[in-house]
């Protein structure tokens, strides 16, 4: 993906409110480098490039969150795209700070058996990163306390789907609460669906032709 393509995609996600209008944060991995939005992306559309192995900033001024993205790419080699979702219901659930359990099959399939909230009020940056990675284990996303969610996947399009499905899961949790409460899907069935989706169904768009 070229820098221009990446910028166009980021603008598309900003227009859909997947990414924050004020501080959009997104990155993609390209071999041994990552491309990430800069601190000033909202005003100047600038990107920064970072060496994945050494962490050296090769160009631009990356968003402050770049160390988290670097660690996710290092610890989860299958991921090649990360979005910091700022969607409404996702943000509501991140403010509440409790784990969101799937009440819809598609959340279980695509996000995983739950979306846990990572507290980022620890004293060190390294502590925050460690906590977020722990909460993401076996999942494609984690809510960030009072700050939306980190969503990742093997490409940018799939990362946006994770963000959209997480939003739907959070919206269902919030709105079903308003009509007396939703029913959670059994944890074992959630794990089974996530496993089957990851292994088989997610590849159907390419294979089933």
């Amino acid at each position: 993906m070229t820098n221009t393509d990446f910028i166009n995609e980021i603008e598309k996600y900003m227009s859909k409110n997947i990414l924050s209008q004020k501080n959009p944060i997104a990155s993609i991995k390209n071999e041994d480098k990552i491309l990430i939005t800069s601190e000033s992306f909202a005003s100047d559309k600038s990107l920064a490039e970072i060496n994945l192995i050494s962490g050296e900033i090769l160009s631009g001024v990356p968003n402050k969150e770049y160390k988290l993205h670097l660690e996710i790419y290092k610890k989860r080699p299958k991921e090649s795209a990360i979005l910091h979702s700022a969607l409404e219901a996702t943000t509501t659930c991140s403010i509440v700070g409790k784990t969101v359990y799937p009440m819809l099959d598609d959340m279980a399939q695509i996000v995983g058996p739950s979306a846990k909230t990572a507290c980022i009020k620890t004293k060190t940056h390294q502590g925050c990163v460690k906590n977020i990675l722990k909460k993401m284990k076996g999942r494609q996303a984690a809510l960030i306390s009072e700050n939306g969610a980190i969503c990742c996947a093997s490409n940018l399009d799939d990362a946006s789907v994770v963000a959209i499905v997480l939003e739907k899961g959070c919206k269902t949790a919030v709105e079903s609460f308003a009509i007396g409460g939703g029913k959670k899907i059994n944890d074992l069935e959630c794990r089974l669906m996530h496993f089957v989706y990851t292994l088989k169904y997610s590849k159907q768009n390419e294979k089933n032709r």
């Binding site: 509440v96 009440m103 819809l104 919030v174 709105e175 609460f177 308003a178 009509i179 007396g180 032709r209």
Partner: protein, 215 residues
């Protein structure tokens, strides 16, 4: 229905389904009855915007068999059960629409509130019991919940909408979404005492209650 007409109907319906926000990407599925023995359905796991006329799969109602090659939607059994029990139905849409999904997550039946609801959907939209996607349990539960109405909720999953034509099935899906939204606000007013049609009020209520520790 003529099979070539059915292919074009499904191609157009897939795009409409996404454009109207009833599904996203590869989710949901649509079918058209061809005759008393078979129906044509969307393939498994494919994006609607990439489909061609040749991608739809002919499935036999009785034994769910289909020609070698492209796999049909894993929910073909739900469609077959509808065609088996409802001879007048020629179009079935399985959606993941938002408001219906919220009601389905609550596993609540949505009762008729006005003449529009009764005329288009029936006296009540029932919620089927839960079954894992693609299973016999889901197929039978959905068929039972649908009965002789035009829509049913699928617990923790979405909705199924039927019609004598594809346009009619779409009208059912759109009406269902509107009526489920009205149901959510009406139930919210009963529970919270807040009469509103703004989602933000529901979100604020959720934050307030959850922060106070209500489960």
């Amino acid at each position: 229905m003529d099979i070539n007409l059915a292919r074009q109907t499904l191609l157009d319906a897939g795009i409409k389904l996404v454009n109207e926000g009833l599904v996203a990407r590869t989710w949901g599925n649509i079918s058209c009855r061809i005759d008393e023995n078979s129906f044509l359905i969307t393939p498994s796991g494919r994006s609607y915007d990439q489909l061609t006329l040749d991608d739809f799969v002919l499935v036999q109602i009785e034994d769910l068999s289909y020609p070698a090659g492209i796999k049909p939607s894993s929910e073909k059994g739900v469609h077959a059960e509808v065609y088996k029990n409802r001879p007048e139905v020629t179009a079935v849409i399985h959606t993941h629409q938002m408001n219906a999904s919220t009601c389905a997550a609550s596993r609540k039946d949505v009762p008729a509130t006005d003449q529009e609801f009764k005329k288009i959907l029936g006296d009540v939209v029932r919620c089927a019991g839960y079954g894992l996607p693609g299973t016999k349990k889901l197929k039978l539960a959905t068929s039972k919940a649908l009965g002789d109405s035009n829509a049913a909720l699928m617990a923790n999953h979405g909705a199924v909408c039927v019609g004598k034509t594809m346009d009619e099935a779409f009208l059912v899906a759109k009406t269902l979404e509107k009526k489920c939204e009205e149901f959510i606000f009406s139930e919210f007013a009963n529970i919270s005492g807040i009469k509103t049609n703004k989602i933000k009020n529901i979100h604020d209520f959720y934050i307030l209650k959850k922060k106070r520790g209500k489960k």
